[in-house]
Point group: C2
């Protein structure tokens, strides 16, 4: 008798709608504000950037939002993604805990990002939009939007953080293979970019700057809209398909997690796995199992654990609305650690909100500990996780070891948000002993926080 | 009503045995010969290199050979692999043909190679072997054996062709992440390597040289055996799980292929998809559907289409037995095109044999045409194929376009042997217009063929 390793759903079992946590929150999240008026923004303020269907999702309080069939048709290229029981890792750890992971690395771009790139591209296409501008750090989001754009015939321009553009040419090649145009940011193509270059022609760039460039292009060009890979409500909404599938798969496995874990940068993959479980708790109250939900972030960019919960800008040039979130300040520049997807000064407002409500825990790890966990995972389960996902792996292993120490057979679920095949230089760095644990600079953090906008 | 995209098997439906084409061949393939005596070799001659269980598989004529449960347990980490209907590609081509592909890129190493690496590592472990030596070109086989070694606690040493070792550090990082040791070949660790370096200290290496180094280490060290990633009968046997699964999945789809396509270097992924179908034809005779089975190779290394069917060595230093195969001569050095996994002077004896029996067709393509097909495939289906797999994609597209021209709705099946995430430099080269179609040199080929051993 063989024990099942992978819990697979048929295409028919793929969720037909997304789960919107806004429907179940006991307190609504603070509204985004217009930076000039400091008044709540309305749909019209967002219309230059997004098509109306996505704006409606951004503000919706409907619990379930239908996934359009043309979007489902594309998602079926790789979804439902597998839920895998990490039996070999359990044995290697000698833990009584059961460890499950949801594996999002099976997508064409190798991460969870296409879950939102595909609907964003489709809704824009439906609205007659021909061009999308976006930013990317390590390139996971950029390659996902490039992929989605190729399917729906959209022109995609991607402002890629200069340091990644130079250091990770293979991610760029992936974007170009899908037909997208990649521009090193800061660039000469925008006023935001030129302003930065005027001060420092060799600026390495940042996500905040790249966002400014993409937003500016969308705001100034009638035929161009903007797409963001995390942070916004509608992006988190699209990612809930991860947790919705995981629930069905855990049911197949006859199991129910005690702990749910995801890594957090902007917050989308974490929300994807966590929000459906949080929603179940919110709706069921004391009658349902109370789970621990853990968001894991890099110690060098610790917005949830060290940031201030305050109104801040999402970008450097201050072109975005003000949103209330855990932030390190929009001028904070994280150290150049390897998990590029987690190098963002802020946090998704919805993730920050559930943190404030006490619905989730947050934890920060240094990168050496994360790579150690990633290598242990690879040698047990075969899959080499992306540096971002290693944060979740580290936490899952620590929880499993705690179960061992306490002799408690808990069930742990984590999201393995992507594979590390594009990140082998980082592993090389770790294996050669060259990896350094970076911390944020207390003085720089204090300075960045002191520059927060003065809002109510 | 949505149309199914992926045809998935449950873990229980994964084949429990491998298919051995030797049981169904009308004529047995010519025996391997001992280079000194030119007499057929026996199991004892192979014993220094392989454990007895694999030697038995090498010479077996049993039709079905059971897959040991511990091997199945590991294969279940990613198998059964999906069979996918390329509906978007069909639409993009405007063809009446149906195109299915078996996707082997879902394995931890990203290709079909672990299908044989896992059983090879397991059988060696069962025989008490502690160390394995092997060679790798681009790194697909090396990373697969490194992965398998990590699961069964074997020390793995990989002689990686120098030019790949230098140009593809990320594949090396993957091997090291799994705990293997990687050595640039030619190396100073072996007599074969030192002999080459003495003539040319900057030699770029070749698969033939790397095989010599690994075989030498295994032959001289009691505790070390040798593992090969293609060519040998037992390797092809292990890959038949691809075709066996595909047959079950096509049955689910209610379809039956008219054309079956695989790319060929050493021949293992091609045999994996093709042999089960050839076996069905051999057993059923005229009563079963006669399919076209097409092996696709690089025009710059065209063993099946331009080589001589003759006895030759598998390596440069002539340490291997003589096998009858389509060969370009063991001193032939293929041009440095991107499909490194197809840069081998010979061909699997069993693939050569079925070619001689008229059971398969062979076709050669230049690399630019293959990358053009790969980019078209990526933009339609999302998956970026490995440069090797692009040869199969090109052929499938050409067959589909022929169906369009002739208005015939044929069913095409091809094996997508691996993803291209480690090969984005090659795509970059193609996209930038820098890719050159290389041909073999007629003079060099004639010279290499003139050096073939003089065997009855």
């Amino acid at each position: 008798m063989s024990e099942t390793t992978k819990f697979l759903l048929s295409e028919d079992q793929m969720p037909k709608d997304w789960y919107n946590i806004a429907a179940d929150l006991p307190v609504p999240p603070p509204a985004p504000l217009h930076p000039a008026t400091q008044q709540p923004i309305g749909p019209a303020d967002l219309a230059p950037l997004f098509p109306m269907a996505l704006i409606e999702q951004e503000v919706s309080t409907e619990r379930r939002i239908e996934i359009p069939e043309p979007v489902r048709e594309v998602l079926r290229l790789w979804r439902p993604s597998p839920l895998i029981r990490a039996r070999r890792l359990e044995k290697a750890l000698g833990t009584p805990a059961k460890i499950y992971f949801k594996y999002e690395g099976v997508s064409p771009a190798g991460s969870h990002k296409p879950n939102s790139a595909v609907p964003q591209a489709w809704y824009n296409g439906q609205a007659g939009v021909k061009k999308l501008a976006t930013e990317t750090g390590a390139g996971q989001w950029g390659s996902s939007l490039a992929f989605a754009g190729s399917l729906f015939g959209l022109d995609i321009t991607i402002y890629q953080v200069r340091v990644s553009y130079d250091q990770k040419p293979y991610r760029r090649a992936l974007m170009e293979t899908y037909g997208a145009r990649c521009v090193a940011s800061p660039s000469n193509e925008t006023q935001s970019g030129r302003a930065v270059l005027a001060q420092n022609p060799n600026h390495l760039g940042s996500l905040g700057i790249a966002i400014s460039e993409a937003v500016e292009v969308a705001a100034l060009n009638e035929d161009t809209k903007y797409a963001l890979g995390s942070v916004l409500n509608h992006v988190l909404l699209h990612q809930t398909i991860i947790g919705e599938e995981a629930m069905l798969q855990l049911e197949m496995a006859g199991d129910d997690p005690d702990v749910v874990i995801g890594c957090t940068g902007g917050g989308s993959n974490f929300a994807g796995i966590a929000f459906p479980f949080i929603g179940m708790q919110l709706r069921g109250g004391a009658s349902v199992k109370q789970r621990r939900i853990i968001a894991v972030e890099p110690a060098a960019c610790p917005s949830l654990t060290r940031g201030k919960y305050a109104y801040d800008f999402g970008d450097t040039a201050h072109l975005t609305p003000l949103v209330k979130m855990h932030t390190l300040g929009s001028t904070f520049t994280p150290a150049g650690f390897h998990a590029g997807g987690l190098r963002y000064h802020g946090m998704a407002p919805l993730v920050s909100h559930v943190k404030e409500l006490g619905l989730i825990e947050a934890r920060a790890y240094h990168q050496t500990a994360c790579f150690e966990a990633g290598v242990m995972f690879a040698r047990a389960e075969g899959i080499v996780p992306a540096p971002e996902a290693n944060h979740a792996v580290r936490c899952a292993i620590d929880e499993a070891l705690r179960c061992k120490a306490e002799d408690r057979a808990k069930t742990i679920l984590f999201n393995l948000s992507g594979h590390g095949h594009f990140d082998m230089a980082a592993y090389q760095n770790y294996l050669s002993g060259g990896l350094v644990d970076q911390d944020y600079d207390e003085g720089e953090l204090a300075m960045a926080l002191s520059g927060l906008p003065n809002v109510g």
